[in-house]
């Protein structure tokens, strides 16, 4: 199996407390100085044991969520404990503390948070609901991202990343695919992020969304030219097709028995190398490649079936 590392550079997008406040419409109670604090992990902590005084494993770098349970317990503590525990909760790296269900924020917490500039926010949502929404949002935002030179199209529901050297005809192929009813995601520069364990999702950089650059025509807007049905804002990438100028000295796959692979982050996707030569209709080849890919995933492998049949016939011929 042949593996190719793509030309990637990993970058982490940044999320600050301010983004969370805007996204979840949180009410800022205190610690306004700290709203530019970065959130570095998608893990969220519910400091229940910490309320009880156990700070041994306090995950201070996480967002802290205080719900009904934690606050009711807190109310049962004596004044000295209340003060000390809220102080220990607000460290210099705690990104923020969120009170849920619109409950009253304890005075001790406001005081401690002002001292360390830890933003304290309030939401009207229930704790578990907010927790899951926050986790989803942070996972999405903190997923590793990279930019790849290529074109991303949705062909029959398969996210196909077309790569190849500059001028090989990636954009022209994408244009033909769009004309044939498929959808463009990104031209020339595809931002890819890894979601979950092995799912790669690509989208266009904001500035060049829906645009396609065709030599001789210039920049065209696929959405206004062909309609909203011709574009997609993001798509999971499952197949890579690498276009290259036909090299007579190179051997191209004639059978389709071996699968070439490509690695982006930890995810591996199949990659086909298609040589380009005048007279080869690339759009049709890519359409068929996408369909064949789906067929293989459904368990029908034409190349495999044919070789099995061929070897059987050869064996029968031997027996005679």
């Amino acid at each position: 199996m042949y593996m190719t590392e793509s030309e990637v550079r990993i970058s982490m997008s940044k999320v600050t407390v301010k983004d969370i406040i805007n996204k979840f419409k949180l009410e800022l109670i205190s610690g306004e100085e700290g709203i530019d604090r970065p959130i570095t992990t998608s893990d969220i902590s519910r400091p229940g044991l910490e309320m009880a005084g156990f700070f041994e494993y306090y995950p201070e770098e996480r967002l802290q969520l205080l719900g009904k349970t934690e606050l009711t317990f807190f109310g049962m503590l004596n004044e000295v404990d209340q003060k000390v525990r809220m102080e220990r909760l607000c460290t210099d790296i705690t990104p923020g503390i969120i009170i849920t269900r619109g409950m009253t924020v304890p005075e001790e917490l406001i005081e401690a948070s002002e001292r360390e500039a830890v933003p304290v926010m309030r939401s009207t949502m229930k704790t578990s609901k907010l927790l899951s929404q926050l986790t989803n949002y942070l996972e999405l935002k903190l997923a590793p991202t990279t930019a790849v030179h290529g074109v991303l199209v949705d062909v029959y529901g398969v996210g196909v990343l077309i790569t190849g050297k500059s001028g090989v005809g990636k954009s022209e192929t994408a244009l033909e695919l769009v004309k044939r009813g498929h959808r463009l995601v990104a031209d020339d520069c595809v931002e890819i992020r890894q979601e979950d364990q092995d799912s790669l999702v690509g989208n266009a950089p904001d500035l060049i969304e829906h645009l396609l650059e065709i030599r001789g025509l210039g920049i065209i807007n696929v959405m206004t030219l062909f309609g909203a049905g011709a574009v997609r804002s993001y798509k999971r990438i499952t197949l890579c097709i690498n276009l290259e100028i036909w090299d007579a000295a190179k051997q191209y796959d004639r059978l389709g028995l071996d699968e070439e692979k490509m690695k982006i982050f930890d995810s591996v996707i199949p990659r086909l190398t298609v040589p380009v030569r005048p007279g080869r209709n690339l759009a049709v080849i890519i359409e068929v490649a996408a369909m064949n890919f789906r067929l293989k995933r459904m368990g029908v492998n034409a190349a495999q079936q044919f070789t099995t049949k061929l070897s059987e016939t050869i064996r029968e011929g031997d027996d005679d």
Binding site: E7, R9, A147, H149, S166, C189, P205
Partner: protein, 85 residues
């Protein structure tokens, strides 16, 4: 592979027209050329990639070249970006 940090001195920044010229210049070299800004790296031979970075006057970018004429590509492109008009 060679790389170089340059500060963009083109007055208007890399607007559409200068970006097109820059890409034209990049395509004169056989080497693979990349341009990186704020941790985002794109192929310098791709106009859409360059424009998606929205490079303004005064911003710092890194040029990366890899290939047989990498040194030439790097100096040529750096000169283009550091040119005042």
């Amino acid at each position: 592979m060679v790389e170089k940090k340059v500060v963009v001195k083109i007055k208007t920044g890399l607007q559409a027209r200068p970006a097109a010229l820059f890409v034209q210049e990049a395509n004169r070299y056989v080497s693979e050329v990349f341009i990186e800004k704020d941790n985002k790296k794109v192929n310098a031979k791709s106009i859409m990639g360059i424009m998606s970075l929205a490079i303004a006057n005064g911003s710092e970018v890194t040029l990366i070249a890899d290939g047989t004429d990498e040194e030439k590509a790097l100096t040529g492109l750096a000169e283009f970006i550091e040119n005042v008009d």
